[in-house]
């Protein structure tokens, strides 16, 4: 039976390729139906599997961990396109397996959607699970966040492989208590950086001890609810970190972990956490500083994450924000910049965004400084306009342009520095609209 299923799956891949279509998900969906939802079960994987999950940073960390092994001369398979549901992982394995379902690789490195961790790894044996953070994100697809954490926690109760957890996120660190018999639980941690605060800066969740309900005590907050926390009552949060990022200096940017100084390209605290997770994985697998250093110092992204466009001579920075944390980060960067600037906010509510856009109310717009004008666009252009207006920003400085090309033209109509924030499905259309503007009116895409 397995053999037939695999042939059907491979056929689906071949047909899609023939029509030059991306076989990222569809073959897996076909097999999902044929197997009654157990589409990953028919593969025979004898190599270790490393999975990376969490709300933010999955793609970065998965790619970097894959690089660690690739540069160590290992043969790896990775879901690069971010097809991170069970059907996407099934499609990936279909492309790489033999007709008997055997996978030939040294390591499988899989970015895995939070809600699909129990689904996929009840079918495939997992060696290491890296959990980065849990934020409100696409909540309406998954039900409430607590349900999501409960699902992964349920999986961790019987998991005795390596768990590498963000020890500064109470939502993540709690998984370390799921299976008291698991001796392979490790935490990564970061010392405070220059902008760490004593009180919480952005609206967030996870402020109470999940075990006894007491408010958590924080020594410092790095951003949102991420920071050094402890429950005064039951001691939750009191652990010895496996790896710690210290001497963090985002100006350069540098940080030290495990006695080695790293110089990443991206200068955000979010990236420091991601790279600390990468260094933790390297340590776990005995990969030396030299290789780790090369991976961390070269890693950069170019897909709407702090991407620069020149609209004529007007410098424009585009950043993806899937949730309040990402948006607040861009606002911080924007505010730290001198002079006047304008903001274009593109908000969509397609299925992949989560149909709900209320997360924009958790963005702290009251921090706006020297923002001369705001333009809004996307399928929910009006929602973001109302939200910004109610944060006490002058309504007469808000321009609503649901059509993206109109919005970019409007943004480029004045001089000065520009910022663009776009949510998940809005990022690629926004990039295209910016590029169209440049083609027509001049400028540069860096």
């Amino acid at each position: 039976m397995n053999g037939i299923l695999i042939i059907i799956g491979k056929l689906a891949v071949a047909i899609l390729r023939l029509f030059k279509r991306n076989a990222g998900n569809l073959p897996g969906i076909v097999l999902w139906h044929l197997t009654g939802g157990k589409c990953c079960k028919m593969f025979r994987v004898s190599c270790p599997i490393i999975a990376v999950t969490g709300t933010n940073g999955k793609t970065s960390v998965t790619n970097c961990i894959a690089q660690l092994f690739e540069r160590s001369g290992k043969k790896i398979i990775i879901n690069k396109e971010g097809n991170n549901l069970d059907t996407g992982i099934c499609s990936l394995l279909l492309r790489h397996c033999s007709f008997t379902g055997k996978i030939d690789a040294d390591y499988l490195i899989l970015e895995t959607d939070e809600s699909h961790v129990p689904v996929v790894y009840s079918q495939l044996k997992l060696e290491t699970l890296v959990v980065l953070n849990f934020f409100r994100d696409q909540l309406d697809r998954n039900g409430e966040m607590e349900t999501l954490i409960q699902k992964i926690n349920g999986f961790c109760k019987t998991f005795d492989g390596n768990l590498l957890l963000n020890g500064d996120d109470p939502n993540t660190a709690r998984l370390g208590r799921a299976n008291p018999n698991n001796k392979n639980v490790r935490y990564f941690h970061a010392e405070p950086y220059a902008f760490a605060t004593k009180t919480i800066f952005e609206a967030s969740e996870g402020r109470f001890c999940p075990f006894c309900g007491e408010p958590l005590e924080y020594e410092y907050y790095q951003y949102s609810h991420i920071g050094k926390f402890k429950c005064g009552k039951c001691g939750f949060g009191d652990y010895v970190p496996y790896i710690t990022a210290e001497k963090i200096d985002l100006e350069k940017p540098v940080f030290t972990a495990d006695g080695h100084e790293y110089s990443p390209k991206l200068n955000s605290i979010y990236n420091i956490y991601n790279m600390t997770a990468v260094a933790g994985a390297a340590k776990l697998y005995g990969i030396g500083h030299k290789i780790t250093d090369s991976v961390i110092s070269e890693y950069t992204v170019n897909n709407g994450r702090m991407e620069t466009f020149m609209l004529g001579d007007r410098r424009t920075t585009l950043n993806l924000a899937k949730n309040p944390v990402g948006a607040n980060m861009t606002l911080r960067v924007m505010n730290e910049m001198r002079g006047e600037k304008e903001l274009l906010f593109v908000l969509n509510d397609n299925v992949a965004d989560g149909l709900d856009v209320s997360w924009i109310w958790d963005i702290n717009f009251s921090v706006f400084e020297r923002v001369a004008r705001v333009i809004t666009s996307g399928t929910r252009a009006y929602d973001i306009a109302v939200r910004i207006k109610c944060s006490d920003y002058p309504a007469e400085n808000i321009v609503v342009r649901p059509d993206l090309d109109d919005a970019v033209t409007e943004l480029a109509a004045t001089d000065g520095r520009k910022f663009v924030i776009a949510n998940y499905t809005a990022v690629q259309p926004t990039r295209s609209a910016l590029k169209r503007y440049i083609e027509k009116h001049g400028g540069k895409h860096e």
Binding site: G143, E144, E146, L355, W361, S391, A395, I398
Partner: protein, 247 residues
């Protein structure tokens, strides 16, 4: 008296889908009209406030775990909130806040959380966590005396039954139960609803009904609120109504 006093309860625990935005919106609309708006917060183990001294008590929604955490504390406030309600304080309740003012709430694991029993309705959560009422919702209301269609976003497993005076009839979405005909609960000084979004974002009539009620609570005169420029809010709502009802 050009002032309203608001008690925002459990703001640190019950704040799903932008619920705290409702308070930001009320404050904003008061500020634009020169009405002083005082917002006090109450959370678990805060000192018991004089509930009746507030014009408005606001409670948002939370996940099951958070609702369990606050339920015991809420019982301690039961007498105070009941007295305030009878004394004419306005209750504005979203999702979890709505559920917990009824008789009881049975969560998805079958655990009963007692409500304050202020109203006759009760809520039973759908045991299958996948079967939730999720999505945009449009309801037709008459609370201002005129027909107003309002738009929000619902996400609840709870099925609320026994509502005698709903806030509105459902034009799109689920409402109090899966595919039900009505949404929310209404009395002259109570608006309870499953609508997040936050609820007031594109429904200025709702905000102004609450503000107007609060201003007139202690007087026999009817305050006429001066109009604000609500073009963005109304356009926002119309875009959604047109899309959802295929106009």
């Amino acid at each position: 008296m050009n002032k309203i006093k608001i008690l925002h309860m459990y703001a640190d625990m019950l704040d799903l889908y932008g619920d705290s935005g409702n308070i930001e919106i009320i404050s904003y609309r008061c500020k634009m009209r020169g009405i002083e708006c005082i917002v006090d917060k109450y959370s678990i183990d805060s000192e018991q406030p004089d509930f009746s001294s507030y014009d408005l008590i606001y409670i948002g929604g939370g996940a099951d775990l958070e609702q369990q955490h606050i339920s015991e504390d809420l019982q301690k406030c039961g007498d105070g909130i009941t007295a305030a309600y009878k004394n004419g304080t306005f209750l504005f309740l979203i999702c979890g806040g709505y559920q917990l003012m009824g008789k009881h709430y049975r969560d998805a694991d079958g655990v009963d959380i007692p409500g304050l029993g202020l109203f006759d309705y009760y809520t039973i959560a759908e045991p299958n966590r996948r079967k939730r009422c999720i999505g945009n919702v449009v309801i037709r209301t008459e609370f201002t005396g005129k027909t107003v269609d309002i738009v929000g976003f619902e996400n609840h497993g709870g099925q609320t039954q026994g509502v005698k005076t709903p806030l509105g009839s459902v034009l799109y979405g689920h409402g109090n139960c899966t595919k039900s005909s009505h949404e929310g609960y209404f009395e002259k000084n109570v608006i309870a609803t499953y609508m997040h979004g936050p609820c007031l974002a594109k429904n200025p009539e709702l905000s102004d009904y609450i503000i107007g009620y609060c201003l007139d609570r202690d007087s026999n005169e009817k305050t006429v609120l001066n109009d604000l420029d609500d073009k963005l809010e109304k356009d926002c709502r119309q875009v959604m109504i047109d899309r959802l009802l295929n106009k």
